[in-house]
């Protein structure tokens, strides 16, 4: 007996995609296998490691704990959607590079998506707050020290850019909060 398939439409990084999937297809697997967006990594497949984190309507969400069929009608942002269309890296990506916030890179997409959202709500975190923000993401290489530094550095880059942008500081976060 063949399994019932569902035609789904997903909006990922601003683009419409269609896929034909069984109901049990995880969003993480759909992104990687059906849409070819392999930036989202699958670590533990039970909601512990955070590597598969994507943003669903802006909110960091574990894509291994969500069915692709349930993601319809929501705005999905994966790590591929963080950089500007011209390739300019997101402040969080730049900060992770500058601070050596990654080694093997497996967990990195999850950290980047989480931190990008976190800084929109908390543009100026303390170190303790930065640690708490990444509490749901596991990294086996870095010991987290450089990841925490990268979170703080990303916040700094965002503030610098906001100050330099027309409209000044007020532009920081404006329009990003949902």
């Amino acid at each position: 007996m063949s399994e019932e398939l569902h035609e789904i439409r997903l909006r990922v990084n601003g683009a419409e995609h269609t896929a034909t999937v069984p109901a049990r297809r995880l969003l993480s697997d759909c992104l990687r296998q059906d849409l070819g967006l392999t930036g989202t990594h699958v670590g533990c497949e039970h909601g512990v490691c955070g590597a598969c984190t994507v943003r669903v309507d802006g909110r960091p969400t574990r894509s291994c704990l969500m069915f692709a069929v349930s993601a319809q009608g929501h705005e999905i942002t994966t790590v591929e959607g963080l950089a500007e269309p011209d390739g300019t890296l997101h402040p969080v990506q730049r900060a992770f590079r500058e601070c050596h916030g990654l080694q093997c890179g497996f967990c990195t997409p999850g950290f980047l998506t989480v931190v990008s959202a976190y800084l929109e709500d908390n543009p100026d975190p303390t170190e303790e707050e930065a640690r708490e923000a990444v509490g749901g993401n596991l990294c086996r290489c870095t010991g987290y020290q450089n990841i925490v530094k990268a979170v703080l550095r990303a916040a700094e880059i965002r503030r610098e850019e906001a100050a330099a942008a027309p409209g000044g500081e007020r532009a920081a976060g404006a329009g990003e909060r949902r």
Binding site: G47, R62, M66, G73, G135
Partner: protein
């Protein structure tokens, strides 16, 4: 696996009535883990994420009617004043990603004794609103948990909301885990002082086959507490309260901790909660009394 995706609450209730074996799914933070590990293969799932209203909360009399699907993040953001113990528990749930998806309805549906929402619901005498095609019934949280992962919910019912009474005094929540994020509680404890009825409510998590209350400890604290002035309780009374809470627990040895450790830790959490709540009571005395 059949996947039902009702667009309205009425459709959801009809689906649950026709397929009582269907498992409701909201944030997926429990149900999906079981499916991914192949611990459970539900014949059907009812996806409730499209049902309007489940993610909303509103004032209800003096208290709050919390939609079963309001994510913990929403409780943290909005209900720190209206439901302090529950909001404190919500802050401690898992990780940001899980708090964005998980909900009190899911905790109640799964009914794991380790669910962080249960102790505050017990301590504050919250009420669970269950619905079926036959109508709505309201079951106090204190009568909801029947056995290991067994509750008063019938197979044809869905959890619609939780009714949270307005706080009438300080509330506290504390838990012990091996780290701050992403661990299942080793033990947890909630306490609510109610200055109107001069009663004390308790809730114990992760230390028995179900979430539990400590009725002996509640009566003891209510009798000992200085409801007029909130004077600090004698050390001996605080200690006795901890003993009574620990005695009400029915813990087991498991991978997260031994029964002996759990009783010990519960007594510590209970003593701290009572002492701090008493201090809160004195500080807020002018407002609460």
């Amino acid at each position: 696996m059949e996947f039902l995706s009702p667009a309205t609450w009425e459709e959801a209730l009809a689906a649950k009535s026709e397929r009582p074996d269907a498992v409701p799914i909201m944030g997926g933070t429990d149900v999906m883990v079981e499916i991914n590990f192949d611990r459970r293969r539900p014949p059907a799932l009812i996806d409730l994420t499209r049902v309007p209203g489940l993610r909303e909360w509103r004032a209800d009399g003096d208290g709050v009617r919390l939609g079963a699907g309001v994510p913990y993040t929403g409780i943290v953001d909005a209900l720190g004043g209206a439901a302090p113990a529950l909001a404190a528990a919500a802050r401690s749930v898992a990780s940001p990603q899980i708090r964005n998806r998980g909900s009190v309805g899911g905790n109640l549906g799964g009914a794991s004794p380790a669910g962080d929402a249960h102790p505050p619901l017990l301590a504050t005498d919250a009420v669970v609103e269950l619905a079926s095609v036959g109508g709505v019934r309201r079951v106090p949280a204190r009568e909801f948990y029947l056995g290991p992962r067994r509750t008063a919910r019938r197979d044809d019912e869905l959890i619609a909301a939780v009714l949270l009474p307005a706080p009438a005094g300080p509330q506290r929540f504390a838990k012990v885990g091996t780290r701050n994020a992403m661990v299942i509680a080793v033990v947890s404890f909630a306490l609510a002082l109610d200055a109107r009825s001069r009663t004390v409510g308790t809730g114990i998590g992760s230390a028995g086959p179900t979430p539990l209350r400590a009725p002996g400890a509640e009566e003891f604290a209510a009798a000992e507490f200085d409801w007029e002035g909130g004077a600090p309780l004698p050390e001996s009374a605080v200690h006795r309260f901890g003993e009574l809470v620990a005695a009400a627990a029915r813990p087991i040895d498991d991978v997260r901790g031994s029964a002996g450790y759990r009783r010990h830790a519960l007594a510590v959490l209970a003593r701290r909660a009572l002492a701090r709540a008493a201090a809160d009571y004195r500080e807020g005395g002018a407002r609460c009394a």
